[in-house]
Symmetry: C2
Subunit: 489 residues, 2 copies
């Protein structure tokens, strides 16, 4: 066997073990008996140790030195394996262990602090986490920017400055649009209760309508919806609320975006580094374009309105135009995960600015709450009322996720670019969506983006599919047009 | 760290990875999307390779040489680790790979031959399997008996001769009892259909009634019921048939026997070699005593009769005595998995004799069908009508399972011994069971057997719990008394 083939065979087993670890995570959120948690912790640690040993195996370095790629995809495979290997060996094992230990502890302290509305109780442990993550960032950056090194983990090739450029360009327009919309009367809300079994029935229909392949996936319930797995076994979850069926339906469509991306990657890349979505941002672009640009469009919601009437009878909405406004209603609120399509990016941009400043040292943890509240009022127009609605609302920082938040809005930015290209390339899209027919859109996304998996960098993936550099303008224009129509601006 | 502690820490991770591999098997039979099979095959192979490497890791041999056990349980841990290590390294890797390959192929050929009723099509590949398994047996036996070496994998300390002694002593009595029973009129059968959701509801109640801990387990449906996992995450499955609710209920009680055994092992042994059921035979003793001696007793079926009337209304059985006869009905039949409590052991003894002869070379594969049919007619009193009802009915031999079949009947033999001791130690047992109260029985089994896991050998486990050497007499006496009463012999 050639060095390339030996490396790919070794890597294939590593990928397979990674799939197993991922499925353990799925099981934990969906099927695991509640008393099994302590044992599960040991199981996860054991398989993570196996994965770490394989990812940093010295033979990988040797194979990488000798391997000759047979083609372009092979070169991309080597590039991804090299990136993963170098990333893994840069971080000292002791530091990785310490981070795992402190973040585990910090997560518990964060939950308690949030429940008690007590920022001061969280500050010391978050200071520890920030210090350790900066140490890790210094090791990864090798003299470069610490925050850039963190972004690299989630959106390789992107930098803090590159993100700031996009976000800074988008912010004034979003703040202005939000202010105008919130001066207008709020749309009507759904009335009554919605049978949860009927929600699950319609949610499975929606998953199929959006091209999710049930032969290579399944839909279950979880407290926090997610998608899990690559290749031939890609599972999604959703949730139900008796009074808020949109939560169920749009969680499902969102997760189908993630899941269909994984399912649609070329089978040639199965169990290889190219066989998963290329980055968090590109992944989010798929979930967001399914959920928002397609799923919350006037055309598609017209079809959904009829489906919901068939499933639930009358729920107090007179016609499809009113339903469209209800689906896209913009409300005041403090919580990122409950935010609408318009305000969501303001939440992210706030977090991006703060975490970048924490990592550069420009912001001290003890000043985080003040900085959060100040920025929130500037962008949202009203003050944070309590820490659980402010800087204690997200788990991310407590578990050491820095550089991750901006990928949510990068996904929206990418989705804006892709949607512009999609509308250009697929004439009659609205007429299709009005019939509940998404194949025109999903086939375009599969052909131009999803099938390629990790072949190109995140940026080149978007350029290849959308025919343009990722930038804020398509998203901002789309949001301005959409909410101007709905709110009669 | 001492060599003992290092070895135990290493072993703990191996056990945790073994639990993960087992849960993948559970997932495959219950949750896995149907199109995921090819990927799952690679995943299983990858984790099995990791496990094999750990089980044969040269460091284990070094630690075993240096380790000093701190107590009796520690000595038992070392004994079990040594047994597993020596077993693993005795079989050459090439041979293990070849066996995996040929048995995978043989399983497909067996299924096709069974469908076509074509023994000749199966003979060549079974010859290959038998030759390879004998080669493996010779490597394991190191000059000893090949079949004994195979039995050691499933029931360590037991031998082919030891099993033959028990089975030979039991066979005439069973054949005679079977003949007498089948001369009598058959009990009434259940009438009507039984809602499958109502079956699952009652089956979950039965699981709880038998002490299955839902905080550390779950009940799902599978084509072939099984139990999976050890320690804090022990899952069972059952199945439903619209016309045969007993299939559901007694599959559940059987699997609860397996599952409760795993759940009740001392937490001190969690993720250690002592933390699982000690052998296949002892495991089967638990499933069988739950299912048969307790679950099919006159006392317990009296309670179940009322429960079933409550769940399903009238099903054509007049009273609890008639219901007891229906539950324990003995029918003619060819298929082991459908056999009743009385005839089941005849099926096993037949297979034991034949597979032992195959391994010793006294029986050639080409003569297997003739030998099967001859023995069947001698023990059951009528001739096999077609190969799918004869020597092609079980998957076991095609996948290389030799030495496994006898553990089913050893389990029944052990259950006979345990039940005799249980009745001696728990006065008023029947009065409890008649109220659907199994705690007297299950607490006795936990205290005297289950909690000890792998601390003692299978034989010593039974001696410790039952206070007697394992032998056929208690089982035979129990069966004679039970079926004499039911059939008025």
């Amino acid at each position: 066997m050639s060095a390339f083939d030996e490396l790919m065979a070794f890597q294939r087993d590593t990928q397979a073990l990674g799939q197993i670890a991922g499925r353990l995570g799925w099981d934990q959120e969906t099927m695991m008996p509640r008393g099994a948690a302590p044992q599960r912790g040991e199981e996860m640690a054991a398989i993570e140790a196996v994965l770490h040993a394989r990812r940093s195996d010295p033979r990988v370095a040797e194979w990488l030195q000798q391997a000759v790629a047979p083609n372009e995809a092979g070169e991309a495979q080597l590039r991804e394996i090299r990136r993963s290997y170098e990333r893994t060996v840069k971080v000292p094992a002791d530091l990785a262990k310490k981070i795992a230990q402190v973040t585990s502890e910090a997560q518990g302290k964060w939950a308690a602090a949030r429940a008690d509305e007590d920022v001061a109780a969280f500050v010391p442990v978050l200071e520890e986490v920030v210090a350790l993550k900066r140490e890790e960032g210094l090791a990864l950056a090798e003299g470069g920017d610490v925050y850039d090194a963190m972004v690299e983990d989630y959106e390789h090739g992107m930098t803090g400055a590159g993100i700031a450029e996009i976000f800074d360009a988008m912010r004034p327009g979003l703040v202005e649009l939000r202010a105008k919309v919130l001066e207008k009367p709020a749309p009507k809300m759904l009335q009554g209760t919605f049978d949860e079994a009927a929600q699950m029935k319609l949610t499975r229909k929606l998953a199929k309508v959006f091209g999710y392949d049930m032969a290579h996936g399944r839909v279950d319930k979880a407290v926090h919806p997610f998608s899990s797995g690559s290749g031939l076994d890609v599972r999604i979850t959703t949730r139900t609320s008796e009074t808020d069926p949109f939560n169920c339906f749009y969680s499902t469509i969102h997760e189908v975006g993630h899941g269909a991306y994984e399912q649609n990657i070329s089978r040639d890349y199965l169990l290889t580094p190219l066989g998963s979505g290329v980055s968090m941002g590109v992944h989010e672009s798929q979930s967001r374009i399914y959920e928002n640009q397609i799923g919350r469009s006037r055309a598609f919601t017209g079809w959904l309105f009829e489906e919901m009437k068939g499933a639930f009878g009358d729920f107090g909405i007179a016609d499809a135009d009113a339903f469209y406004a209800t689906v896209n209603a913009v409300h005041k609120g403090y919580i990122r995960t409950e935010a609408d399509e318009l305000q969501y990016n303001l939440h992210i941009m706030l977090r991006f600015g703060l975490e970048r400043a924490l990592m550069s040292g420009d912001l001290a943890v003890k000043d985080l709450e003040g900085a959060w509240n100040e920025r929130f009022e500037a962008d949202f127009g009203y003050a944070v009322d309590k820490p659980s609605n402010g800087c204690l609302q997200d788990v991310h920082w407590s578990v050491g996720l820095f550089g991750y938040f901006p990928t949510y809005s990068l996904g929206n930015v990418y989705a804006g670019c892709l949607y512009q290209a999609l509308r250009r390339d697929v004439p009659g899209l609205d007429a299709q969506l009005a019939q509940g027919e998404t194949r025109g859109a999903t086939a375009w996304l599969k052909e131009n983006l999803q099938q390629h998996g990790g072949l190109r960098s995140p940026r080149d993936t978007i350029i290849h599919a959308a025919g343009m550099e990722p930038g804020h303008q398509p998203l901002l224009t789309y949001l301005e047009e959409k909410f101007s129509t709905i709110y009669d601006l």
